[in-house]
C-alpha cells in the first residue's frame, strides 16, 4: 500500500503537482488518469523517488520515504518495478539481457538461477522465442511486454506503469492491461498505472484517481465513474460519443 499525503512538486517556478493526497492498495490495479500535461508522469516519477517533492510525504507500507536512510532507500528501490512510457529498454542489450539486468544488479543469484527466472518471466508475458532479439528488432507490443518482464523479474512489491498500452492496437492493449492485472493479483503487488485510455479504465480500473492541472479532481472506481457528474471527469470520459452510450447501458444495467 502506498499512502500519498499532500505532495507538491515544481519545476523552475511552475508548480506541476499542487498538493495530491490519496492511497493505493495492494493487489489492485490503481489507475491515474487525466489529460496530456496534467502531471501524471511527474506524479508517477515522484512516487518512484526520481523526483523529490518540495512538500508532503509518501509512505510505502508504512515506511515514510523521507525518513529512510540511503541504504533503506536503495532497498526500497529494489522492491520497485517500472514500465516507462516508451518502454526504455537498453538498446545495446538483447531482450533476455534486458530482463536479466535487475537480477545481475541486485541479486547474488547464480547464472542458472538467473536464466531460469528470465525464462519464467518471459514465458509469463508470452514471449518465448525472442530472447536473443535486440529491442530495435521487436514490435512495440513486444517491447512493452519485455518492459513488463523486466519490471517484475525481481519480484517487486510496487509496480508502476506509465501508459503501458499507448501506441498499441486495441487488442494488444487489452492483452497488456489484463496481463498487468493478473500479475498484480497473482503476486499481490501495489500497482499504479498512468493512462488516458478509456478502455483500460473500463477493463481494469479498480481504483481511479483523476488528475487535473496538478490536483486530484476526483477518485473512485470504474463502477462509479459513469455516475459522477463532476464536469472535468465527464468532459474527459465522454469526449467520445461511444462512452455516452456505454454510460446509458451501465445505468440501465444498474436499475
Amino acid at each position: 500500500m502506498i499512502e500519498v499525503n499532500d505532495i507538491h512538486k515544481s519545476f523552475g517556478g511552475s508548480e506541476i503537482l499542487k498538493g495530491i493526497s490519496t492511497t493505493f492498495e495492494k493487489g489492485k490495479t490503481n489507475l491515474v488518469i487525466g489529460q496530456s500535461g496534467s502531471g501524471k508522469t511527474v506524479f508517477l516519477k515522484t512516487l518512484l523517488g526520481l523526483f523529490t517533492p518540495e512538500k508532503g510525504s509518501i509512505s510505502y507500507d508504512g515506511r515514510k520515504y523521507s525518513d529512510l536512510s540511503s541504504d533503506e532507500k536503495s532497498e526500497l528501490r529494489a522492491e520497485m518495478g517500472m514500465v516507462f512510457q516508451g518502454s526504455a529498454l537498453f538498446d545495446s542489450m538483447t531482450i533476455a539481457e534486458n530482463v536479466k539486468f535487475p537480477l545481475r544488479m541486485f541479486t547474488k543469484q547464480s547464472k542458472s538461477e538467473m536464466e531460469d527466472r528470465v525464462n519464467f518471466v518471459l514465458k509469463r508475458v508470452n514471449l518465448d522465442d525472442a530472447h536473443n532479439k535486440l529491442p530495435s528488432e521487436a514490435s512495440g507490443g513486444m517491447q512493452k511486454r519485455v518492459a513488463i518482464a523486466r519490471a517484475i523479474v525481481n519480484k517487486p512489491k510496487y509496480l508502476f506503469c506509465d501508459e503501458p498500452n499507448s501506441g498499441l492496437d486495441p487488442r494488444t492493449a487489452t492483452v497488456i492491461d489484463n496481463l498487468i492485472q493478473e500479475i498484480t493479483q497473482e503476486y499481490d503487488i501495489t500497482t499504479i498505472i498512468n493512462t488516458h485510455d478509456m478502455n483500460s479504465v473500463m477493463e481494469i480500473g479498480e481504483k481511479i484517481v483523476f488528475l487535473k492541472d496538478g490536483l486530484k479532481e476526483w477518485e473512485g472506481s470504474n463502477k462509479n465513474i459513469f455516475k459522477t457528474d463532476n464536469e472535468a471527469v465527464t468532459g474527459f470520459v465522454y469526449s467520445s460519443d461511444l462512452f455516452k452510450r456505454v454510460q446509458k447501458m451501465y445505468l440501465e444495467e444498474d436499475l
Binding site: 528501490r77 517500472m82 516508451g86 526504455a88 545481475r104
Partner: protein, 245 residues
C-alpha cells in the same frame, strides 16, 4: 549566469563519476565495450590522418628550406618536433572530439530521451558512474592511440621525404634523432592524459543533461564538439605556458 551553472553542474558530475560504483561484474563488460567503441574503432582513422599529415608537414618544411646552408637533417628534426609536440596530442584530440565526442554525446543523449537513464536510476543505479566511468577508464588508453599517431606521423614524414627527394633517408633519420629532449615526451603525454579526461567528460555531460527529443540529441552533439574543442585548445595553451616556458 547559466554558464556558471553549467560549469558547476559539470564539476558535480565529475564527483559523481566516482561515487557509489556499479558492481564490477557489470562494469567490466561496459569498460571492454567502451574500449572497443572509443579506442579500437579509432585506430584506423587516427593512423590514416597521422600518416598523411606527417607527410604534409615534411613536404611543407622541406619546401621552405631552400637555403643550401641549412642542413638537410633539419627536415626530420622539424617533423619530429611538430608531430610530437602539437600534431599528435592536440590536432588528433580535436578530431577525436568530433569522432569520439559526438558518439558519446549522442549515445548518452539517446538514453536520456528514451528514458533509459531514468530506468537506471529507478533501479537505484548511479547512472553517471554506470555511463561515464567506463568511458573514463577506456580513455586512459588514449595515450596508446596518440603513440600510434606519433609513430605514423614521423613514418609518413619519412616516406614523403624520401619519395619526394627532399633529403636522404639517412639525413631524415639523423634529423629525427637530433637534440632529443625526453621532457618533451613527458609534456606530450601529460597533455594527452588531460585531453583524454576532457574527451570522456565534456561529451558525457552534454549527453547526460540534455532535454528534448531526437532533434536535440543532434544539437547536443554539435554543442559538445564545440565545447570539447574549446577546452582542449585552452588547456593546451595553459599547459604549454606552464611546462615549456
Amino acid at each position: 549566469m547559466s554558464y556558471l551553472h553549467s560549469i558547476g553542474q559539470y564539476f558535480l558530475m565529475i564527483k559523481e563519476i566516482f561515487r557509489k560504483p556499479t558492481k564490477w561484474s557489470v562494469m567490466r563488460r561496459l569498460v571492454f565495450k567502451d574500449i572497443d567503441d572509443l579506442i579500437i574503432n579509432s585506430i584506423g582513422i587516427v593512423s590514416f590522418i597521422a600518416f598523411f599529415v606527417g607527410g604534409v608537414v615534411t613536404i611543407q618544411t622541406a619546401l621552405n628550406m631552400t637555403n643550401p646552408l641549412i642542413p638537410k637533417t633539419l627536415v626530420g628534426f622539424a617533423t619530429r618536433q611538430s608531430v610530437i609536440l602539437e600534431f599528435a596530442p592536440t590536432f588528433i584530440s580535436i578530431i577525436m572530439a568530433g569522432k569520439v565526442g559526438s558518439f558519446i554525446t549522442s549515445s548518452i543523449g539517446t538514453m536520456r530521451v528514451t528514458e533509459q537513464i531514468d530506468a537506471l536510476e529507478v533501479m537505484g543505479i548511479n547512472a553517471i558512474n554506470y555511463l561515464v566511468f567506463p568511458k573514463f577508464i577506456a580513455l586512459m588508453l588514449y595515450p596508446f592511440l596518440i603513440s600510434i599517431a606519433m609513430f605514423l606521423g614521423i613514418l609518413g614524414g619519412m616516406a614523403a621525404c624520401v619519395f619526394g627527394g627532399f633529403a636522404s633517408l639517412d639525413d631524415y633519420i639523423a634529423g629525427i634523432q637530433m637534440d632529443f629532449i625526453p621532457f618533451h615526451m613527458l609534456y606530450a603525454f601529460i597533455k594527452t592524459f588531460v585531453f583524454a579526461f576532457l574527451l570522456a567528460t565534456i561529451p558525457s555531460y552534454h549527453g547526460f543533461y540534455m532535454t528534448g527529443g531526437a532533434l536535440e540529441v543532434g544539437k547536443a552533439s554539435t554543442t559538445s564538439f564545440v565545447w570539447t574543442s574549446v577546452a582542449i585548445i585552452l588547456l593546451n595553451y595553459i599547459l604549454t605556458q606552464m611546462m615549456l616556458s
